[in-house]
Structures are given as C-alpha cells and as structure tokens.
C-alpha cells in the first residue's frame, strides 16, 4: 500500500467520490523523494478500505484531517507541454 496525501481546496463533503477525477497527490513514501507531487487521474473514497492505496486529506491551508481515505491512481498526467519538457 502506498500512502499519499492531497489538499482539498473546498470542503471534503464536496469532493467527487468513486468517479475518475484529476487531483494532485503527494507521495509520502519515506526517503529522498518524499512529498513528490503529481497530477493524477484517480478514483477516491472516504471509505479507507475501498481502494488499494491510502489517501490522507488536508484542507487548503495545510490542516491535517487525520481521517484516512483510499485512492486508486489510474495514471499520472504530465501538465508540461511536450515542447518544454
């Protein structure tokens, strides 16, 4: 299981669950790459056991909610236009 966190920019109740949605996740795996961010297409759920990986929500000013969600990362999305990579 990989642990990620994410920042909900609005209220957690407004977050779209179980549908493919694009968010920014941060990888919390220990080591030099900890906190690497990525835009990703995901499915997420407030049910901590629904998907394989763990997602820890934060609010927009960094507040840690301490309630685990779960996430399925479908694919990373590279936002940088091809010419400038």
């Amino acid at each position: 299981m990989i642990e990620y966190d994410t920042f909900f920019l609005g209220e957690p109740e407004a977050v779209l669950q179980d549908e493919v949605t694009e968010i920014v996740i941060r990888d919390l795996s220990p080591g030099r790459r900890k906190y690497r961010a990525a835009y990703a297409e995901v499915r997420l759920s407030s049910d901590p056991d629904k998907y394989a990986d763990r997602l820890w929500p934060r609010l927009g000013r960094g507040q840690w909610l301490g309630i685990p969600w779960s996430v399925e990362v479908i694919r990373e999305v590279n936002k940088i236009p091809e010419a400038w990579r």
Partner: protein, 481 residues
C-alpha cells in the same frame, strides 16, 4: 575602495562564528521538518544561525539556517560591528547605495566555484538536493527560501535579482508565486507570456550576504550593480550553462531553467512572512529545470517564515523603510527618519517629520502608498521630531495620545495589496486588493501655542543645566549607570 564585506557564503559563516552568532550542529538532522523547526525556534529567539553539518539522506550537503534574521547579523554582513545601532546600519546602507552604480565583472568558468559540479539533461533531479519541509502542512518542500532568482528583460536587457519562493513539485519542476507588480512579474507577464516565450531563469542558493540583501531590496537600481555598490567593488558573476544569464560565481548552488508561459501548476500553502499560512494552494508559475551546478559540499540556505523575526521581515523592513526615506527626501519632504518595524512583518512604517505645514502627514502617506513599495504595507504612523522612531514605547505613546480617531485616521480603500495579507477578506486576497491607513500623530498646526499640550519628559521639561546636573550626579545619588 572596497568596503569590508564577505565575498561568499562560507566567509560569512566564518564571520558569524567569530562573532559568536553561529552554532555548528554536528549531529544529523532530518530535512523533513526537524531542520525547519530548529530554524523557526532560532528566529523566535533571535538566536545564532544553525550551521547543519549532516543532513539525513543527503550525505555531502550542509545547510545554514536563519542566516540574516537579526540586526547583529545584518550589521556583520555590511562589515560593521554586530552591536552597531539600527540607525547606524541604515546610515551605512544608504551612504553606500546612494553613489554611482558599480557594474559587475564576468569571470571564467574555471574560476567559478559554483561550477565544481555540473548536472544537465536527464540527470537533473531536484530530489538530489536537500530541500527542507520547512513547516508541517506546507504544500511541498521549499528549496528556495533565502535565495535569488535571476532573470532578464527581453527587450531592454535589464537584469533582475529577486526573491520568489520556489516549491519542489517533481524531479524537474518547481512552482511559485510571481506577483504581477514585482520586477520579475512585470517582465514575465508583460513580455514573455504575451509572446508565448519561456523566460530563462537561474535560482541562486547560498549567495554571499550582500547579494541576498540586494535581491530582497526594492531598489530601482539593477541588483547586480546595487550589490557592487554595497561591496564597493564589482560583484563577480559567471555565465550559466544552459542560458546567457549571469550568476554570482561563488554561490553554493545554481538551478537553471525556464519559467513557462501559459501554464500554471499548484503551489502552497506555505508558512509566510506575515506569520500565517494565508495564501491558498492555487495554480502558480512553473519553473522547468534544465541544469543544476554546485560547489563541492554545497551549503543550502534555509529561512523559516513565521512569526517574527525571519529574514524577510527584517531585511524587507530595513530596505523598504530606507527606500521610502530616499523617496521622501528626494521629494523635499522635511522628514527626520523612517523606520519600518520588523515585528509588524513590514506592514507598519513610522515616519518622523518636522511638521512644517498642514497636511504633511497625508502627503507622506499618499507618496509612500503610491510608490512601487505600496502593495507590501498598509499602515503609516507619522510622528513629530520629539519622538524617537526606533523606540516602540515612544511611538505607542505618541499614537495613543496624539491621534484623534475621528480626525487623524485616514483610510484609503481598494488599494494595491497582496494575496498574503491575513486581515484581508478572501475575495480581496484573491485579487491582491487591500485598504491602507494613516495614523496622523501630529498636533494640528492651527492650534494656538497656548492650547497645544506640552510633552512631559526628562528631555523636554527641564532646563538644560538641570538635565546636565542630574546626569552628572546620577551615580552619586546612588543609581547605577
């Protein structure tokens, strides 16, 4: 003739050590919040700079925390004794930066320590640098907290060095706010973005202290020349590997790349200089990295924004106040001095004046709010020459006794502000709008002399001979000095 100054970060570290302003931390510290927490505590205690010799997972890297967050460290950077008074530090800064600009010199690559290690292309990986997680809850690891970003105006060729925070997003990408009224913001949004042209940048980490002071000063003189003026001789620069920008040759780390037009990616939140995490996580400028060069055993600089006092609060207050003083004097306004309080997170400025005519306080406020510096602060207190502007007790006394709430508080609505202002409404923050206020603490000139209250203090209500006698006899009365 050259002034006394420190040519690079390492000489400055030695200077801090010799002055008793450094603590060398030999034991390993974690880049993930531990280093940040130490620096934060140091800032709150106005303590010595921690020099971290060993960073977890980053063998071969070192870090310097809170390099310039106190007046003694600032005095030292300017070649003065650490106990120099604030007005003395200000006087030296103003004197040195009022002369003719000094052009930089370009040195060969072989003579530039920052070229000891060069990484380009696919090998570039920002996670190879020990970017700290400065505060718990920040949007990412901030590599650039005490640094400078070099860029160039594409038409005039004017160079800008400025501090614009940068968060590590992924291996080759950093994101950060470039406020539209800053020098780099004007260049990027007015020139590069309309042409859909990436803007070359170079982030300099671990530069000599005077270059850092220049980069966060709001002076109209290009910062490379401004640094030379403070040094009293040219600053030495070297050309980047992947663009034509010039960077200080002896800096610890250089990150080269391009700021991309037409695309924004998420940055923040971040513990900011106001002492809060205010500006939201939102799409901000994207820095794409093409090369990293660094000295052997590079020393990363770590500033920690939060409640006073951090580098931004101290140095921005210092330089904003002194640039304001230059502006007011250049307009012939009879001021006695300007002091911006670092504790106000450079939001409050005290201006001393000889009240020569009615309305002078409004004139002062309108000038400084209307200047380039305006967006960064919103409170002006104008006092007369009897008040020591550096003495908070005297300023509070004048404010509490001379400022009539109905007559002397002037509010300027819908002015330019920043998204970082904690007191602004979420809507105002979004567009960088804010109100300003003048506290006029001058007794009106149209009051008769007989009606004007007299300040009752040792210095003002006794004849000079009595003051002299009391001072001369002070210890004889039984008091200590």
């Amino acid at each position: 003739m050259a002034n006394k100054y420190y040519k690079d970060n390492r000489e400055f570290i030695k200077g801090l050590d010799e002055a008793g302003l450094l603590v060398t931390v030999e034991q390993e510290v974690d880049w993930d919040m531990e280093m940040g927490a130490i620096v934060r505590r140091v800032c709150e205690m106005k303590g010595p700079s921690p020099y971290f010799k060993s960073i977890k997972e980053y063998e071969g890297f070192e870090a310097l925390g809170a390099p310039l967050a106190t007046y003694p460290k600032l005095a030292l950077a300017l070649g003065l004794p650490p106990d120099a008074s604030i007005p003395e530090i200000g006087r030296v800064y103003t004197e040195r930066t009022n002369g003719a600009p000094i052009q930089p010199v370009v040195v060969e690559r072989d003579a530039a320590p920052c070229k000891q290690n060069i990484i380009t292309g696919d090998d570039v990986d920002l996670f190879d640098l020990p970017a700290p997680m400065v505060h718990d809850g920040d949007g990412g690891r901030y590599l650039a907290t005490w640094h400078m970003v070099v860029s160039r105006e594409p038409d005039s060729g004017d160079v800008n060095w400025g501090m614009y925070r940068q968060m590590v997003f992924d291996e080759k990408t950093m994101t950060g706010p470039v406020l539209p009224f800053s020098d780099m913001g004007k260049m990027f949004y007015n020139k590069y973005v309309p042409r859909n042209q990436p803007m070359p940048f170079a982030t300099v980490i671990g530069m000599d202290p005077l270059s850092g002071i220049a980069a966060c000063a709001p002076s109209p003189i290009p910062e490379d020349q401004f640094t030379g003026m403070m040094m009293g001789e040219p600053v030495e620069l070297v050309k980047c590997e992947t663009n034509d920008l010039l960077v200080p040759a002896s800096a610890e780390i250089i990150i080269e790349g391009e700021v991309l037009p037409g695309i924004n990616m998420l940055e923040a939140p971040f513990g900011e200089y106001t002492g809060y995490r205010t500006s939201p996580r939102e799409p901000r400028a994207v820095y794409r990295v093409h090369a990293i060069t660094y000295r052997d055993r590079p020393i990363v600089a770590v500033s920690n924004m939060g409640i006073p006092t951090d580098e931004g609060q101290l140095l921005r207050s210092f330089s904003l106040g002194l640039e304001m003083e230059k502006l007011l004097r250049s307009q012939g306004i009879p001021i006695t001095g300007v002091y911006m309080l670092p504790e106000s997170t450079h939001h409050l400025v005290v201006v001393g004046t000889k009240p020569a005519y009615s309305g002078i306080a409004s004139q002062i406020a309108q000038l400084v709010f209307g200047s380039k510096l305006g967006p960064w602060f919103h409170q002006v207190i104008v006092v007369d020459q009897t008040v020591d502007i550096y003495n908070v007790n005297e300023v509070i006394h004048a404010f509490s006794t001379r400022c009539d709430p109905a007559r002397d508080i002037h509010i300027y609505r819908e002015s330019a502000g920043t998204p970082l202002n904690p007191y602004a409404s979420p809507a105002d923050r979004k567009v960088g709008r804010g109100s300003k206020v003048l506290f006029d603490c001058l007794f009106p000139l149209d009051w008769s002399r007989a009606d004007t209250p007299i300040l009752v203090s040792f210095n003002t209500v006794y004849p000079q001979d009595i003051q002299d006698r009391v001072l001369a006899q002070w210890t004889n009365y039984g008091f200590s000095e």
